[in-house]
């Protein structure tokens, strides 16, 4: 039988990711998995170090955690076991590293779509996660209001 014990939901504060989280939770709630909500922050700049870097890191982390709490509220009705994670770095690499670290069974991620120029310049985090993930990835887009 299909095992979905650990689900990773990377979020970025956008409406797209809120819809992804809501949709993903409804889809997997029957399996009662452990859900990890992940927010990736910008790394602390190199010119900062020691206590100063720590100060910036803590401020970023606090902001990130506050944002993750809003997602936790979205998930509250589902009754799922939710853990909040905040990491810094390049989003696609961090998502894939966490997926590997937690041996996730599923990644749920929202896609907002990119313009041609955006794709050319930066590519898409979602595309790179799809390419590198070691587990199934559910990409939600244009989720109809429930």
């Amino acid at each position: 039988m299909l095992q979905i014990n650990t689900v990773l939901m990377p979020v970025d504060g956008s409406q797209f990711s809120k819809e992804a989280v809501r949709y993903g939770a409804q889809l997997v709630s029957a399996h009662k998995p452990k859900v990890y909500l992940l927010h990736v922050t910008e790394p602390v700049h190199m010119t900062l170090g020691g206590a100063n870097a720590e100060q910036v890191r803590q401020a970023n982390e606090a902001k990130s955690m506050a944002m993750l709490e809003t997602y936790k509220e979205i998930l509250a009705p589902s009754g799922l076991d939710v853990t909040l994670l905040t990491r810094s770095g390049r989003p696609d690499y961090v998502i894939l590293n966490v997926e590997e670290e937690l041996a996730c069974d599923l990644i749920v991620i929202g896609s907002r779509g990119l313009s041609v120029l955006e794709s050319m310049v930066m590519g898409s985090v979602v595309t790179r996660v799809l390419e590198g993930a070691g587990c199934p990835v559910l990409v939600t887009r244009n989720v109809r209001s429930q």
Partner: protein
């Protein structure tokens, strides 16, 4: 992300608009802007240097004083100091002179500088040394030796990025770790990069100015060998003592990383391509150029920059994502360097022009400091002044400032040997004196801290350099720079 892309699109449009504008404006000008800018160096007062000084002081002090503000606005601060020079300059000396100064700096220095760093950063970020090493004094010293030897060929940043994680894994079980990271910064992130223009940014700027590729290798090999030899011996002695004091620990747990192996090794071939591209651009003289706003951009330099971008692109394409993930590769460091150096290069324009004017310029006091009573170059002063400023400001602009103080004519400086040796060695060696002396210093500190090693504070690190490096630099002065 969409916001970022919007900004990028806007910047791209602005750049294209500026380029077309420059072209049309330059066509309508009858003034020889090159001659005009040469003459300006004699007229500009010291007040024009203020934005440059403030830019460098901002990098040195703001991260310590207001870290949060710096973290969120360092790009704007950099742009502010560039504009603090450019806007008044355009008002007082004309739009033509201002655009010429920007075009000259961008096309002959900044773009090539950033393209080389980008290529070295991208390619070395695709090489990964995996596997278990046990951090005994012999092994640690060997890693430092290898890093020192390769730093001149893959850049201090590339060598440091390649070896810092294996070194940290090797010493993970050791109680005393800080000394290893500090010596790593001394040797791999700085002194090891003294031998070629690829090693350290100041030397590449010298290459762009016309210093031949192998000049530094020929003249600095002996000083580097002596300095690195002493530091390595000292490190081995200190680490052996501490290793014994710790009771010669062995790592606990199994061998998770497996056998020692190099992944993405084909990137080393691409690095060889970088060496070849830079070398060829110094040897090949097709005598062809493109002119943009009266600035002549030579064909060999365009070819080199394009080649470097192609090599970086190949590396991105062929390197498996798993290697870059393991290296925690990201664009943030190079973006940071790009933004900061844009501000440095632009705000530096008047300082360079004044120094080029020599004793007729407003900074004749600095010129007098580096001359003996007989009017000859004082090598000791060149070594220490370049070095002292390199430690606290960045070593790349400092090198350029003193290169121009010494006359700025590469053929003369290469012939005379002593002055250029002192400037090159001062800029590269003494970049190790503080965390902010050279970009890989704070990269290494940042990686070490994220790996749980409690690195010394800014001033704590300086105690290490004061105790170890300064006496050695005094020795080097007696041996090579007097």
């Amino acid at each position: 992300m969409r916001k970022k892309a919007g900004w990028l699109s806007l910047l791209a449009l602005l750049a294209i608009g500026a380029f077309v504008g420059m072209f049309l404006f330059s066509e309508s000008l009858t003034v020889n802007l090159h001659e005009q800018s040469e003459a300006l160096g004699k007229q500009l007062g010291v007040v024009w240097v203020i934005p440059f000084v403030c830019m460098l002081l901002s990098i040195a002090l703001l991260p310590l004083v207001t870290p949060n503000f710096w973290h969120h606005h360092y790009g704007k601060i950099s742009a502010f100091w560039a504009l603090a020079f450019l806007v008044p300059f355009a008002i007082f000396h004309g739009m033509g002179a201002a655009i010429y100064a920007v075009a000259h700096t961008l096309f002959l220095e900044y773009i090539s500088f950033i393209v080389l760093l980008l290529a070295l950063f991208t390619i070395s970020g695709g090489v990964c040394l995996r596997g278990s090493l046990v951090g005994k004094p012999q092994v640690n010293t060997l890693i430092l030796v290898i890093g020192t030897l390769i730093a001149s060929w893959m850049g201090t940043t590339g060598a440091a990025m390649l070896l810092i994680r294996p070194l940290m894994r090797a010493i993970a079980h050791r109680k005393y770790k800080v000394h290893t990271i500090v010596f790593f910064i001394f040797l791999v992130a700085n002194i090891g990069g003294s031998l070629t223009p690829l090693g350290d940014p100041p030397l590449f700027l010298g290459f762009l100015k016309g210093v031949s590729f192998f000049w530094t290798f020929t003249h600095l090999a002996l000083p580097v060998a002596v300095l690195a030899g002493i530091l390595l011996a000292l490190y081995f002695a200190v680490d052996s003592y501490l290793y014994a004091k710790e009771g010669k620990p062995v790592p606990e747990g199994g061998d998770k990383e497996g056998k020692l192996r190099l992944e993405g090794g084909y990137n080393l071939l691409l690095l060889a391509g970088v060496v070849a591209s830079v070398l060829v651009s110094g040897l090949w003289k097709p005598d062809a150029h493109f002119t943009v706003f009266q600035v002549d951009i030579e064909l060999q330099n365009i070819a080199r920059d394009v080649m470097l971008l192609v090599l970086a692109g190949i590396s991105l394409k062929i390197t498996p994502v798993s290697i870059r993930r393991y290296n925690e590769f990201g664009w943030e460091p190079i973006l940071e360097v790009g933004k900061l150096f844009a501000g440095i290069f632009l705000s530096m324009i008047p300082a360079i022009a004044i120094l080029k004017a020599g004793s007729e310029g407003a900074l004749s006091g600095i010129i007098a400091m580096v001359k003996t009573a007989e009017g000859a170059d004082n090598h000791t002063m060149y070594f220490w002044l370049t070095g002292a400023l390199s430690g606290f400001l960045d070593n790349a602009p400092t090198y350029l400032v003193f290169f121009n103080t010494a006359g700025g004519v590469p053929e003369v400086l290469m012939q005379e040997v002593g002055t250029l040796m002192a400037i090159s060695a001062g800029a590269v060696f003494m970049g190790a004196n503080t965390y902010i002396g050279n970009a890989p210093n704070f990269m290494v500190r940042s990686i070490a801290e994220s790996g749980g090693i409690k690195m010394p504070s800014f001033f704590g690190y300086m105690l290490w350099s004061l105790a170890i490096l300064i006496p050695l630099f005094v020795l080097m002065t007696f041996l090579f720079f007097h």
